[in-house]
């Protein structure tokens, strides 16, 4: 086979290998994040459930004891929480940039999302799905305490 042909084929194979590796990695990681597979069974069992309800244009958080908080979520570092994300009206997206991840909030559907944050701090909560003229106002705060 010609040298040039070998070089051409090697670039195609190189691209296929890279895309396959990235695809497999993404699939494994996404499944792990979505299902909380990185947690032990014990940690999952002890997870504190918090309802996250999106609405135009605020975030409502309901703690297990019934306390309701608007636009402010306070969590403890290194504690596992189970966020039950849904929406009251239109489709929103629960997005914490510093966590590098976002979740759709869809009316009539509840997404379960395990979350553990190890570093105390104040983080942003944004809506990452255009939900109406006040979309830009839909900002919350996540406070992680030690």
């Amino acid at each position: 086979m010609e040298k040039a042909r070998i070089f051409e084929l090697s670039t195609i194979i190189f691209a296929i290998v890279i895309l396959t590796v990235l695809g497999v990695f993404s699939d494994i990681y996404l499944n792990s994040i979505n299902s909380g597979a990185y947690l032990t069974a014990h940690a999952k069992q002890d997870a504190i459930p918090i309802k996250v309800i999106a609405m135009q244009y605020a975030w409502e958080f309901i703690y297990p004891n019934g306390t309701v908080s608007i636009d402010k979520l306070v969590l403890k570092a290194n504690q596992t929480y189970l966020l039950e994300i849904t929406s009251k009206d239109v489709i929103h997206a629960f997005y914490i940039p510093q966590l590098g991840f976002k979740f759709e909030a869809i009316p009539g559907y509840v997404y379960d999302f395990y979350i553990v944050i190890n570093k105390p701090g104040v983080y942003d909560i944004w809506c990452a799905e255009f939900c109406g003229p006040g979309h830009y106002l839909m900002k919350g705060t996540l406070i992680v305490v030690s």
């Binding site: 990235l22 990185y38 966590l99 590098g100 570093k119």
Partner: protein, 146 residues
């Protein structure tokens, strides 16, 4: 580099250097695939690892294609016999190129070292792009002064 069709060992060495230089440049511009703004959490570990792998893979693809384009276009450029231009014109080009490169390095360094708003970050990134465009124009003018 002579303008014969056959590539020599020196040509392959220059080709490799072009590819490696662009790979290092790509990694440097993207902070070596690190996302400094992420917090510490199992989810961010997944996100950061995936971004790291993706960024390095993208750097490989970018470096191979851009490095080859640059090397091949210089190696096989058309040789034209033109009248010698006044030397000071070329010197101005070199001076402008030097200032452009300094500005690109300075702006990119600012992007990574100063805590700035997204708007300012966008402005600096746009300035970088503009400077890259002016570098390409300058190099072009150095070859084709007509």
């Amino acid at each position: 580099m002579s303008n014969t069709k056959k590539l020599t060992g020196k040509d392959y060495a220059w080709w490799t250097i072009s590819v490696l230089a662009l790979f290092v440049l790509f990694l440097w511009v993207g902070n070596f695939g690190n996302l400094a703004y992420l917090t510490q959490s199992p989810i961010t570990n997944y996100v950061e690892t995936l971004w790291h792998v993706t960024y390095i893979a993208a750097g490989g693809v970018f470096a191979i294609f851009m490095g080859s384009i640059i090397f091949l276009s210089v190696r096989f450029r058309a040789v034209e016999v033109t009248e010698a231009k006044p030397k000071n014109v070329i010197n101005y080009y070199y001076a402008a190129l030097f200032i452009d490169l300094l500005a690109v390095i300075g702006i990119t360094y600012e992007i990574f070292t100063i805590a700035i708003s997204q708007f300012i970050l966008g402005l600096l990134a746009a300035a970088d792009l503009l400077l890259f465009a002016s570098i390409i124009y300058l190099v072009y003018k150095m070859y084709y002064q007509e």
